[in-house]
């Protein structure tokens, strides 16, 4: 087996600021084998593979190819070592044909399109790809585009292929086809890595599985010697006690009723599929799910930022009257007196204005207030000072651009402003992502405080341990559908883990 080893990674560590994305990870990729790299969102799978494809360089550790240490400083160098990565987001020139895309960036003297086309066809025949070498990319389906990406990598002579979540955008039939191709390549002696969090696919296509959790290496097992349950345990780990205080609110009432909410994106893909649930006052409703299961769309649809195809969002005011929010712009929603606060996932890109200071950012909620054409800075300035004091925001001053603050302080500014608006519904998306432990607890406490004031809190999170201890109920999304709503006090990590991948498994049974 040793002689088959194509790439070995030893003790790889990669840090982004204070976040450790990969913590001393060992990995071995063999020829003639499919390795599945398994882990939850943010467990460091893609980061690890980006170091193989030359996008990042490791901070510590070494990479060996055929026993020799190598340094991969750019994707071009990765190709020289025979490593090719197929990214989640395809990088193709739409108005070019597949062949033109494939030879793009190659520099071997004169361009011979005919010869290139022949070579592309040859590769396709060899592994069973179905693409037309002279078809333009804009005419292609998503799966064909993916095929072009794979052929592109093969054309460059790669014998180590890394596929990042290749099935995320494919239909079950297309997935079957892809797997058949992967098996052909495996038989041809290629080394293949697929990054995934779908257990059924791991079981179906891989020979070995390496599991990562929160940037740490958990273990490598042979697929034939394991089962989905065991892998789930490795993936989510045992529940860790975080000691988050979770008081009970005495008088919960319905605050927001969402019924059959359906959203489609620009390409007509369903992002939310008849989502129905109720948010109550004095409750933190956790929202769990693999990233891209519709969390972002759900919150944005409720706040009027994402177009809704059908369904309703009814907001129950404190006097008992109901307001229908679907069809209203964010401005209208605010004007109807619906107290809604939203801490979006993209803090600087959506929630804040990076180039402005705290005062300018407090203004974002109140700039329309007051008579006349001039802005009134007194109130927001006072608010900025208040937030700075109460949440211990570390900044040289209220006019210092928030872009320059650390991630934790940026989030405090955003959460502080949203809470200061005294909302009745508070929605947060990945509120503690990238924050250190102390700041995270500050946020948890703030949310619990709001809940005890009778606010209905929606908490979209990725850390199941936190969801289990912070939330009262957990709504699990899977592929834009509600996979279930469970009581956070009685459920287990495993139950949520299975719900998160439920529909994928079902599709496969069909």
């Amino acid at each position: 087996m040793e002689k088959n080893c194509a790439i070995e990674m030893k003790g790889i560590t990669k840090r982004f600021g204070q976040v450790v994305a990969n913590d001393s990870i060992d990995l071995q990729i063999n020829r003639g084998e499919v390795l599945a790299l398994l882990g939850e969102n943010g467990s460091g799978k893609t980061t690890l593979m980006n170091m193989l494809s030359g996008i990042y360089q490791p901070d510590e550790g070494e990479i060996l190819k055929d026993g020799k240490t190598i340094y991969i400083r750019s994707p071009r160098e990765a190709y020289e070592y025979g490593i090719g990565m197929i990214h989640q987001h395809y990088k193709l020139v739409e108005v070019f044909t597949s062949t033109q895309n494939i030879i793009l960036g190659l520099n071997d003297g004169r361009m011979d399109l005919k010869a290139a086309e022949n070579k592309v066809n040859e590769i396709c025949d060899r592994y069973g790809f179905e693409i037309d070498a002279s078809e333009k990319v804009y005419d292609m389906s998503v799966s064909q585009k993916q095929t072009v990406e794979i052929v592109k990598v093969l054309y460059r002579g790669a014998d180590i292929l890394i596929l990042d979540e290749p099935t995320a955008v494919l239909t079950p039939q297309e997935t079957k086809k892809l797997f058949a191709v992967l098996r052909n390549m495996k038989a041809d002696g290629k080394a293949i890595v697929i990054i995934t969090h779908k257990l059924n696919e791991v079981m179906e296509v891989s020979d070995k599985v390496t599991v990562l959790r929160k940037g740490k290496f958990i273990g490598t097992v042979k697929t034939s010697e394991t089962n989905p349950q065991a892998l789930t345990d490795m993936m989510v780990g045992h529940a860790v006690s975080l000691n988050i205080d979770r008081p009970l609110y005495p008088d919960p009432r319905k605050k927001m009723i969402i019924e059959n909410l359906t959203c489609v994106d620009e390409e007509g893909v369903k992002k939310l599929d008849s989502v129905s649930f109720t948010a109550n006052t004095g409750e933190i409703l956790g929202v769990a799910g693999i990233s891209g299961s519709g969390q972002k769309e759900l919150l944005e649809a409720i706040t009027g930022l994402y177009p809704v195809k059908e369904g309703s969002v009814r907001f129950i005011k404190s006097d008992g009257s109901e307001v229908e929010l679907v069809g209203l712009t964010p401005k209208k929603i605010r004007q109807t007196g619906v107290g809604m606060a939203f801490v979006p996932e993209d803090r600087l890109g959506m929630g804040l204005v990076g180039s402005m200071g705290m005062t300018g950012n407090m203004l974002l909620r109140s700039w329309k207030k007051g008579k006349g054409a001039l802005i009134h800075k007194k109130e927001p300035e006072a608010l900025a000072n208040k937030v700075m004091e109460e949440l211990d925001v570390i900044t040289p001053g209220v006019n210092y651009p928030v872009r320059r603050l650390s991630g934790g302080n940026v989030q405090k500014v955003l959460v502080g402003r949203e809470i200061a608006s005294e909302p009745e519904v508070l929605m947060t998306a990945y509120a503690v992502r990238g924050l250190d432990i102390n700041t995270s607890y500050t946020i948890y406490n703030l949310l619990t405080e709001q809940k005890m004031k009778g606010v209905a809190v929606l908490y979209v999170g990725e850390d199941l341990d936190v969801l289990l201890e912070l939330a009262d109920r957990i709504l699990v999304l899977c592929g834009g559908q509600v996979a279930g709503v469970v009581d956070a006090r009685t459920t287990t990590k495993e139950e949520i883990g299975l719900l998160m991948t439920q529909f994928n498994a079902k599709e496969d049974e069909r």
Binding site: Q57, E62, G349, G354, A373
Partner: protein
Amino acid sequence: MSAENRTPFVRLAKRTEMSRRNMWLIRIGSIVIALILGCLPMLLTGTNPISAYGVIIQGSVSRPVYLRQTIRTAIPLLGCALAIAPCFKMRFWNIGAEGQITMGAVFATYFALFWSGKIPHVALLIIMAVSGAIAGGIWALIPAFFKAKWNTNETLFTLMMNYIAIGIVAWLQGGPWEGRKGSQLIPMFSDEARLPDVLGVNCGWIIVLVLVVLMFIYMNKTKQGYEIAVIGDSVNTARYAGMNVGWIMMRTMFISGAISGLVGFIIVSGANYTLYSGVADGVGFTSITVAWLSQLNSFAMIAISMILAILEKGSNTLQTRMSVPASIADIITGILLFCMLSCEFFINYKLIFRHKGKEVNG
């Protein structure tokens, strides 16, 4: 064992912060470097750079009459830079000021040609100014409307609108407004339609200085200015805050075009006293340089537009006195722009060399 010794020789890292003083020092330093680099083309043409710079300064500011000419050059540059500023703040790349100036000039000229003598002097000038502003505003509104509605590319759209405007003037010149048959010229304005001089320069300078103050207040103190700044930073944040991005874009472009149109009026009524297809004379483009170099700060624009005007006026003198091509001014302007834009790079990034790199925390 670590990979540090194999990282690239130089790499870039984003700077965390820099004091305001240092930022301005770097910017002033870049102007000095630009002036030094500007010596190179002069040496190539066999001119002594020091005496050449001397002639430029002398020929542009040493005598009141020169200074007045220089200021006359600076007025439209400054006015148009003020017009462009809100668009650029919004990251709406309006490079159509040239056309907006031209359309403003066309409408002002209409009233100058056909209404003069019929109404009082001041009223005529006001009507010319207002109609010029409205025409420029509408000309700018068209691309903004398409951008807001169908997300068309504003850069191309505004650029193409320039040529349409210039084409319209060319047609007027040879057709309906032609003065003496076959002259291809529009007649000169009567005195009624000319801007009066104040301190020897047409009173356009008062108008643009008032605009400097107004624009500063508009950008920094008003709700609309705040909306523009938020959109420039992130359209998503603006939507999140409940702003109607499309509407704000159209409104801002109208204001921008209106100011350009006003500049067009100042040019025909204060300097040229007639209309011809080259009426904007590249001002719409040069003012982009002015706006950019002054970091969209209205008061800095006064200084930058003066510097560019001095270069332009001075190098004309240079041409007559030392027979150095006047295009030397364009070359120096280009070098200036290059140096000042690249200094922004050093304000935002720092270079980390391989050996020192270890200690520096990215």
